[in-house]
Protein backbone atom coordinates (compact mmCIF):
# COMPACT_ATOMS: atom_id res chain seq x y z
CA UNK A 1 0.00 0.00 0.00
CA UNK A 2 1.30 3.45 -0.82
CA UNK A 3 2.11 5.77 2.02
CA UNK A 4 1.43 9.47 2.44
CA UNK A 5 2.69 11.73 5.19
CA UNK A 6 0.38 14.64 6.03
CA UNK A 7 2.26 17.58 7.52
CA UNK A 8 0.04 20.34 8.91
CA UNK A 9 -0.19 22.09 12.27
CA UNK A 10 -3.99 22.06 12.13
CA UNK A 11 -5.51 18.87 13.50
CA UNK A 12 -8.74 19.62 11.60
CA UNK A 13 -6.93 19.85 8.27
CA UNK A 14 -5.01 16.65 9.01
CA UNK A 15 -8.24 14.84 9.78
CA UNK A 16 -9.96 16.04 6.57
CA UNK A 17 -6.91 15.23 4.44
CA UNK A 18 -6.53 11.81 6.07
CA UNK A 19 -10.11 10.88 5.21
CA UNK A 20 -9.60 11.89 1.56
CA UNK A 21 -6.25 10.13 1.18
CA UNK A 22 -7.39 6.93 2.88
CA UNK A 23 -10.31 6.80 0.45
CA UNK A 24 -7.67 7.03 -2.30
CA UNK A 25 -5.96 3.95 -0.83
CA UNK A 26 -3.04 5.61 0.94
CA UNK A 27 -1.69 4.49 4.26
CA UNK A 28 -1.46 7.76 6.14
CA UNK A 29 0.89 9.13 8.78
CA UNK A 30 0.69 12.59 10.34
CA UNK A 31 3.13 15.22 11.58
CA UNK A 32 2.33 18.65 12.97
CA UNK A 33 5.47 20.48 11.82
CA UNK A 34 8.48 20.09 9.56
CA UNK A 35 10.82 18.80 12.27
CA UNK A 36 8.43 16.03 13.27
CA UNK A 37 7.97 15.17 9.60
CA UNK A 38 11.74 15.03 9.09
CA UNK A 39 12.12 12.56 11.95
CA UNK A 40 9.44 10.31 10.44
CA UNK A 41 11.06 10.54 7.00
CA UNK A 42 14.47 9.52 8.37
CA UNK A 43 12.78 6.47 9.84
CA UNK A 44 10.97 5.59 6.62
CA UNK A 45 10.47 7.63 3.44
CA UNK A 46 6.82 7.91 2.36
CA UNK A 47 5.70 7.73 -1.28
CA UNK A 48 4.02 11.11 -0.97
CA UNK A 49 3.94 14.13 1.33
CA UNK A 50 1.02 16.56 1.62
CA UNK A 51 2.79 19.60 3.03
CA UNK A 52 1.52 22.77 4.70
CA UNK A 53 3.77 25.84 4.50
CA UNK A 54 3.22 27.95 7.62
CA UNK A 55 4.01 25.83 10.68
CA UNK A 56 5.88 26.35 13.97
CA UNK A 57 9.37 24.90 14.61
CA UNK A 58 10.18 24.09 10.97
CA UNK A 59 8.02 25.37 8.12
CA UNK A 60 7.07 23.49 4.98
CA UNK A 61 9.66 24.99 2.69
CA UNK A 62 12.51 24.41 5.16
CA UNK A 63 11.34 20.82 5.45
CA UNK A 64 11.21 20.46 1.66
CA UNK A 65 14.77 21.77 1.25
CA UNK A 66 15.99 19.40 3.96
CA UNK A 67 14.08 16.42 2.57
CA UNK A 68 15.50 16.84 -0.92
CA UNK A 69 19.04 16.75 0.53
CA UNK A 70 18.43 13.44 2.35
CA UNK A 71 19.60 10.17 0.80
CA UNK A 72 16.65 9.06 -1.37
CA UNK A 73 14.91 12.33 -0.49
CA UNK A 74 14.32 13.17 -4.13
CA UNK A 75 11.90 10.24 -4.43
CA UNK A 76 8.77 11.23 -2.47
CA UNK A 77 6.15 13.17 -4.41
CA UNK A 78 5.62 16.40 -2.49
CA UNK A 79 2.40 18.38 -2.86
CA UNK A 80 2.29 21.73 -1.06
CA UNK A 81 -1.07 22.50 0.50
CA UNK A 82 -1.22 26.05 1.82
CA UNK A 83 -3.16 29.29 2.05
CA UNK A 84 -0.23 31.04 0.36
CA UNK A 85 -1.50 31.70 -3.15
CA UNK A 86 0.80 34.33 -4.66
CA UNK A 87 2.63 33.33 -7.85
CA UNK A 88 6.01 34.02 -6.21
CA UNK A 89 5.17 31.56 -3.41
CA UNK A 90 4.23 28.91 -5.94
CA UNK A 91 7.39 29.53 -7.94
CA UNK A 92 9.54 29.29 -4.79
CA UNK A 93 7.94 25.97 -3.81
CA UNK A 94 8.47 24.52 -7.28
CA UNK A 95 12.09 25.71 -7.26
CA UNK A 96 12.56 23.98 -3.89
CA UNK A 97 11.42 20.70 -5.41
CA UNK A 98 7.63 20.57 -4.91
CA UNK A 99 5.87 18.39 -7.49
CA UNK A 100 2.47 20.05 -7.25
CA UNK A 101 0.76 22.83 -5.33
CA UNK A 102 -2.67 23.10 -3.75
CA UNK A 103 -4.11 26.42 -2.61
CA UNK A 104 -6.40 26.08 0.39
CA UNK A 105 -9.30 25.61 0.70
CA UNK A 106 -9.26 22.22 -1.04
CA UNK A 107 -11.64 19.33 -1.52
CA UNK A 108 -11.31 15.65 -2.45
CA UNK A 109 -11.46 16.35 -6.19
CA UNK A 110 -8.55 18.78 -5.99
CA UNK A 111 -6.40 16.41 -3.93
CA UNK A 112 -7.13 13.58 -6.34
CA UNK A 113 -6.43 15.73 -9.42
CA UNK A 114 -3.21 17.16 -8.00
CA UNK A 115 -1.82 13.81 -6.86
CA UNK A 116 -2.56 12.35 -10.29
CA UNK A 117 -0.89 15.39 -11.85
CA UNK A 118 2.19 14.79 -9.69
CA UNK A 119 2.44 11.22 -10.94
CA UNK A 120 0.39 9.29 -8.41
CA UNK A 121 -2.73 8.10 -10.19
CA UNK A 122 -4.92 5.79 -8.17
CA UNK A 123 -7.48 3.15 -8.30
CA UNK A 124 -10.09 4.27 -5.84
CA UNK A 125 -11.41 1.80 -3.33
CA UNK A 126 -14.80 0.58 -4.46
Amino acid sequence: MRTCLIVDDSRVIRRVARRILEALDFQVEEASDGAEAMALCRDRLPDAVLLDWNMPVMDGLEFLHALRREPGGERPIVVLCTTRNEPEHIAAALAAGANEYIMKPFDGDIIEAKFAEAGLPFGRTA
Partner: protein
Protein backbone atom coordinates in the same frame (compact mmCIF):
# COMPACT_ATOMS: atom_id res chain seq x y z
CA UNK B 1 -42.42 23.18 -9.41
CA UNK B 2 -45.23 21.13 -10.97
CA UNK B 3 -44.89 18.65 -13.87
CA UNK B 4 -46.73 21.15 -16.01
CA UNK B 5 -44.14 23.82 -15.11
CA UNK B 6 -41.40 21.40 -16.17
CA UNK B 7 -43.24 20.82 -19.46
CA UNK B 8 -43.31 24.55 -20.18
CA UNK B 9 -39.59 24.77 -19.44
CA UNK B 10 -38.75 21.67 -21.47
CA UNK B 11 -40.58 23.13 -24.43
CA UNK B 12 -38.74 26.45 -24.24
CA UNK B 13 -35.33 24.87 -23.79
CA UNK B 14 -35.94 22.15 -26.39
CA UNK B 15 -37.10 24.58 -29.06
CA UNK B 16 -34.20 26.95 -28.54
CA UNK B 17 -31.30 24.56 -28.01
CA UNK B 18 -32.39 20.97 -28.65
CA UNK B 19 -31.53 20.19 -25.03
CA UNK B 20 -33.65 17.63 -23.24
CA UNK B 21 -34.75 18.75 -19.80
CA UNK B 22 -35.02 15.60 -17.65
CA UNK B 23 -38.38 15.73 -15.79
CA UNK B 24 -36.71 14.35 -12.65
CA UNK B 25 -34.44 17.38 -12.35
CA UNK B 26 -37.11 19.79 -11.16
CA UNK B 27 -35.13 20.64 -8.05
CA UNK B 28 -32.03 21.58 -10.04
CA UNK B 29 -34.16 23.58 -12.48
CA UNK B 30 -35.80 25.46 -9.63
CA UNK B 31 -32.45 26.40 -8.11
CA UNK B 32 -31.19 27.70 -11.44
CA UNK B 33 -34.41 29.58 -12.19
CA UNK B 34 -34.24 31.30 -8.82
CA UNK B 35 -31.03 32.97 -10.01
CA UNK B 36 -32.74 34.07 -13.24
CA UNK B 37 -35.74 35.45 -11.32
CA UNK B 38 -33.37 37.43 -9.12
CA UNK B 39 -31.44 38.83 -12.10
CA UNK B 40 -34.72 39.78 -13.82
CA UNK B 41 -35.97 41.55 -10.68
CA UNK B 42 -38.89 39.14 -10.35
CA UNK B 43 -40.10 38.24 -6.86
CA UNK B 44 -39.46 34.51 -7.33
CA UNK B 45 -39.62 31.37 -9.45
CA UNK B 46 -43.45 31.39 -9.52
CA UNK B 47 -43.48 34.89 -10.98
CA UNK B 48 -40.88 33.83 -13.54
CA UNK B 49 -42.97 30.82 -14.58
CA UNK B 50 -45.98 33.10 -14.91
CA UNK B 51 -44.01 35.42 -17.16
CA UNK B 52 -42.91 32.43 -19.27
CA UNK B 53 -46.51 31.29 -19.70
CA UNK B 54 -47.61 34.80 -20.71
CA UNK B 55 -45.68 36.59 -23.47
CA UNK B 56 -42.02 36.18 -22.68
CA UNK B 57 -39.49 38.33 -24.52
CA UNK B 58 -36.43 37.02 -26.36
CA UNK B 59 -34.08 38.05 -23.57
CA UNK B 60 -36.02 36.20 -20.90
CA UNK B 61 -36.24 33.03 -23.02
CA UNK B 62 -32.49 33.21 -23.63
CA UNK B 63 -31.74 33.69 -19.95
CA UNK B 64 -33.87 30.68 -19.00
CA UNK B 65 -32.35 28.43 -21.68
CA UNK B 66 -28.92 29.60 -20.64
CA UNK B 67 -29.55 28.85 -16.97
CA UNK B 68 -30.93 25.36 -17.59
CA UNK B 69 -28.04 24.20 -19.80
CA UNK B 70 -25.19 22.38 -18.11
CA UNK B 71 -21.97 24.35 -18.50
CA UNK B 72 -19.79 22.48 -16.01
CA UNK B 73 -16.28 21.95 -17.39
CA UNK B 74 -12.62 21.87 -16.36
CA UNK B 75 -9.26 22.66 -17.94
CA UNK B 76 -7.79 19.78 -19.99
CA UNK B 77 -10.98 17.78 -19.44
CA UNK B 78 -10.36 14.10 -20.24
CA UNK B 79 -6.58 14.42 -20.44
CA UNK B 80 -5.98 11.42 -22.76
CA UNK B 81 -7.85 13.28 -25.52
CA UNK B 82 -5.53 16.25 -25.21
CA UNK B 83 -2.53 13.89 -25.23
CA UNK B 84 -3.83 12.39 -28.46
CA UNK B 85 -4.37 15.81 -30.02
CA UNK B 86 -0.86 16.90 -28.99
CA UNK B 87 0.97 13.75 -30.03
CA UNK B 88 -0.88 12.69 -33.19
CA UNK B 89 -3.79 14.75 -34.47
CA UNK B 90 -2.41 18.30 -34.45
CA UNK B 91 1.06 17.42 -35.83
CA UNK B 92 -0.56 15.41 -38.66
CA UNK B 93 -3.04 18.15 -39.56
CA UNK B 94 -0.40 20.89 -39.34
CA UNK B 95 2.07 18.88 -41.39
CA UNK B 96 -0.40 18.71 -44.26
CA UNK B 97 -1.08 22.46 -44.29
CA UNK B 98 0.90 25.45 -45.43
CA UNK B 99 2.53 27.19 -42.46
CA UNK B 100 1.13 24.51 -40.15
CA UNK B 101 -2.09 26.52 -39.80
CA UNK B 102 -4.88 24.39 -38.36
CA UNK B 103 -8.41 25.77 -38.21
CA UNK B 104 -10.07 24.69 -34.96
CA UNK B 105 -13.61 25.10 -33.71
CA UNK B 106 -14.42 24.53 -30.08
CA UNK B 107 -18.19 24.10 -30.43
CA UNK B 108 -20.12 24.63 -27.20
CA UNK B 109 -17.04 25.87 -25.35
CA UNK B 110 -19.02 26.80 -22.20
CA UNK B 111 -16.81 28.99 -19.98
CA UNK B 112 -13.76 28.68 -22.24
CA UNK B 113 -11.60 26.05 -20.55
CA UNK B 114 -11.47 23.89 -23.68
CA UNK B 115 -10.23 26.50 -26.19
CA UNK B 116 -7.76 27.90 -23.64
CA UNK B 117 -6.45 24.38 -22.98
CA UNK B 118 -5.94 23.94 -26.73
CA UNK B 119 -4.12 27.26 -27.01
CA UNK B 120 -1.78 26.31 -24.13
CA UNK B 121 -1.10 22.95 -25.71
CA UNK B 122 -0.36 24.40 -29.14
CA UNK B 123 2.09 26.93 -27.71
CA UNK B 124 4.47 24.01 -27.08
CA UNK B 125 4.01 22.36 -30.47
CA UNK B 126 6.63 23.51 -32.97
CA UNK B 127 5.23 23.85 -36.47
CA UNK B 128 1.61 24.04 -35.30
CA UNK B 129 -0.33 27.28 -35.52
CA UNK B 130 -3.95 27.28 -34.39
CA UNK B 131 -6.64 29.45 -35.88
CA UNK B 132 -8.95 29.02 -32.91
CA UNK B 133 -12.65 29.76 -32.91
CA UNK B 134 -14.89 29.04 -29.93
CA UNK B 135 -18.64 29.27 -29.70
CA UNK B 136 -21.41 28.74 -27.22
CA UNK B 137 -25.12 29.35 -27.03
CA UNK B 138 -24.83 30.99 -23.64
CA UNK B 139 -24.11 34.70 -23.48
CA UNK B 140 -23.28 34.29 -19.79
CA UNK B 141 -20.69 31.59 -20.47
CA UNK B 142 -19.10 33.52 -23.35
CA UNK B 143 -18.82 36.60 -21.19
CA UNK B 144 -16.85 34.66 -18.61
CA UNK B 145 -14.78 32.90 -21.27
CA UNK B 146 -13.78 36.20 -22.90
CA UNK B 147 -12.86 37.74 -19.57
CA UNK B 148 -10.69 34.70 -18.87
CA UNK B 149 -11.27 35.04 -15.14
CA UNK B 150 -11.40 31.84 -13.11
CA UNK B 151 -11.78 31.12 -9.42
CA UNK B 152 -9.12 29.41 -7.35
CA UNK B 153 -11.27 26.27 -7.39
CA UNK B 154 -11.58 26.30 -11.18
CA UNK B 155 -7.84 26.68 -11.82
CA UNK B 156 -7.09 23.73 -9.55
CA UNK B 157 -9.24 21.32 -11.55
CA UNK B 158 -7.23 19.68 -14.30
CA UNK B 159 -4.54 22.33 -14.64
CA UNK B 160 -0.95 21.48 -13.71
CA UNK B 161 0.54 24.10 -11.38
CA UNK B 162 3.33 24.92 -13.85
CA UNK B 163 0.70 25.82 -16.47
CA UNK B 164 -1.09 28.05 -13.96
CA UNK B 165 2.12 29.97 -13.29
CA UNK B 166 2.89 30.28 -16.96
CA UNK B 167 -0.48 31.27 -18.39
CA UNK B 168 -2.33 33.09 -15.61
CA UNK B 169 -1.96 36.31 -13.67
CA UNK B 170 -3.30 36.55 -10.17
CA UNK B 171 -5.90 39.22 -9.53
CA UNK B 172 -7.18 40.10 -6.09
CA UNK B 173 -9.47 37.10 -5.74
CA UNK B 174 -9.19 35.17 -9.00
CA UNK B 175 -6.82 34.10 -11.78
CA UNK B 176 -6.87 35.70 -15.21
CA UNK B 177 -5.65 34.11 -18.43
CA UNK B 178 -2.76 36.13 -19.88
CA UNK B 179 -3.66 38.48 -22.75
CA UNK B 180 -1.63 36.57 -25.35
CA UNK B 181 -3.79 33.51 -24.74
CA UNK B 182 -7.06 35.47 -24.58
CA UNK B 183 -6.20 37.02 -27.94
CA UNK B 184 -5.57 33.59 -29.45
CA UNK B 185 -9.28 32.75 -29.38
CA UNK B 186 -12.12 34.24 -31.47
CA UNK B 187 -15.42 34.02 -29.58
CA UNK B 188 -18.81 33.81 -31.13
CA UNK B 189 -22.32 33.22 -29.87
CA UNK B 190 -23.73 30.38 -31.92
CA UNK B 191 -26.67 27.99 -31.73
CA UNK B 192 -25.68 24.54 -33.01
CA UNK B 193 -29.22 24.09 -34.38
CA UNK B 194 -28.68 26.97 -36.81
CA UNK B 195 -27.08 26.84 -40.26
CA UNK B 196 -23.35 26.23 -39.74
CA UNK B 197 -22.25 27.12 -43.26
CA UNK B 198 -21.41 30.77 -42.46
CA UNK B 199 -18.80 29.53 -39.97
CA UNK B 200 -16.56 28.18 -42.74
CA UNK B 201 -14.48 25.01 -42.77
CA UNK B 202 -12.47 23.50 -39.95
CA UNK B 203 -9.68 20.96 -39.70
CA UNK B 204 -10.50 20.05 -36.12
CA UNK B 205 -13.86 20.36 -34.40
CA UNK B 206 -14.40 19.65 -30.73
CA UNK B 207 -18.02 19.15 -29.73
CA UNK B 208 -17.68 17.28 -26.48
CA UNK B 209 -20.39 16.35 -24.02
CA UNK B 210 -23.07 18.24 -25.89
CA UNK B 211 -24.84 15.59 -27.98
CA UNK B 212 -25.58 13.57 -24.85
CA UNK B 213 -27.93 16.30 -23.64
CA UNK B 214 -29.75 16.72 -26.98
CA UNK B 215 -32.88 15.08 -28.32
CA UNK B 216 -32.13 12.46 -31.04
CA UNK B 217 -33.46 14.69 -33.83
CA UNK B 218 -31.27 17.58 -32.66
CA UNK B 219 -28.27 15.21 -32.44
CA UNK B 220 -28.80 14.10 -36.02
CA UNK B 221 -29.10 17.70 -37.16
CA UNK B 222 -25.89 18.76 -35.37
CA UNK B 223 -23.88 15.77 -36.64
CA UNK B 224 -24.93 16.51 -40.24
CA UNK B 225 -23.96 20.15 -39.77
CA UNK B 226 -20.57 19.24 -38.31
CA UNK B 227 -19.83 16.80 -41.16
CA UNK B 228 -20.41 19.64 -43.58
CA UNK B 229 -17.95 21.90 -41.76
CA UNK B 230 -15.11 19.39 -41.60
CA UNK B 231 -12.18 19.43 -44.05
CA UNK B 232 -11.81 16.13 -45.96
CA UNK B 233 -8.98 15.01 -43.68
CA UNK B 234 -10.43 16.80 -40.64
CA UNK B 235 -11.09 15.33 -37.22
CA UNK B 236 -14.20 15.59 -35.07
CA UNK B 237 -13.85 15.07 -31.33
CA UNK B 238 -16.91 14.08 -29.33
CA UNK B 239 -17.08 13.31 -25.63
CA UNK B 240 -15.46 10.00 -24.66
CA UNK B 241 -18.86 8.39 -24.13
CA UNK B 242 -20.58 9.87 -27.18
CA UNK B 243 -21.17 8.18 -30.52
CA UNK B 244 -22.47 9.08 -33.97
CA UNK B 245 -25.50 6.77 -33.82
CA UNK B 246 -27.80 9.35 -35.43
CA UNK B 247 -25.50 9.77 -38.45
CA UNK B 248 -23.67 6.46 -38.76
CA UNK B 249 -22.72 6.94 -42.44
CA UNK B 250 -21.27 10.40 -42.03
CA UNK B 251 -18.31 9.56 -39.78
CA UNK B 252 -16.03 6.73 -38.91
CA UNK B 253 -14.19 6.21 -35.65
CA UNK B 254 -10.54 7.33 -35.92
CA UNK B 255 -7.68 5.17 -34.69
CA UNK B 256 -7.07 5.75 -31.02
CA UNK B 257 -10.77 5.83 -30.16
CA UNK B 258 -11.56 8.31 -27.38
CA UNK B 259 -14.42 9.91 -29.28
CA UNK B 260 -12.35 10.87 -32.34
CA UNK B 261 -14.03 10.62 -35.73
CA UNK B 262 -13.12 11.37 -39.34
CA UNK B 263 -15.15 11.60 -42.51
CA UNK B 264 -15.46 8.16 -44.11
CA UNK B 265 -12.85 6.56 -46.37
CA UNK B 266 -11.42 9.11 -48.74
CA UNK B 267 -9.15 10.61 -46.12
CA UNK B 268 -8.23 10.00 -42.54
CA UNK B 269 -5.75 10.59 -39.78
CA UNK B 270 -3.11 8.30 -41.16
CA UNK B 271 -3.17 9.75 -44.67
CA UNK B 272 -3.94 13.46 -44.52
CA UNK B 273 -4.94 14.76 -47.88
CA UNK B 274 -2.81 17.61 -49.13
CA UNK B 275 -3.71 20.45 -51.46
CA UNK B 276 -7.34 21.51 -51.53
Amino acid sequence: MTPSDMEVLAQIVGARSGLVLPPDQAYLAETRLAAVAHAEHLPGVDALLQALRAQPGEALLNAVTDALANSETVFLRDRPVFDLLRDAVLPALAGARPGGAVRVWSAACATGQEPYSLAMLAADLPGVRLDLCASDLSERCLHKAKAGLYTQFEVQRGLPIAQLLRWFEKTEDAWRIRPELRQAVRWRRFNLLHDMAPLGRFDLILCRNVLMYLAPEARRHVLHGLAGRLAPDGVLVLGASEAVCEAPDMFEAAPGGRGLFTLPRKAGLTAPRTGT
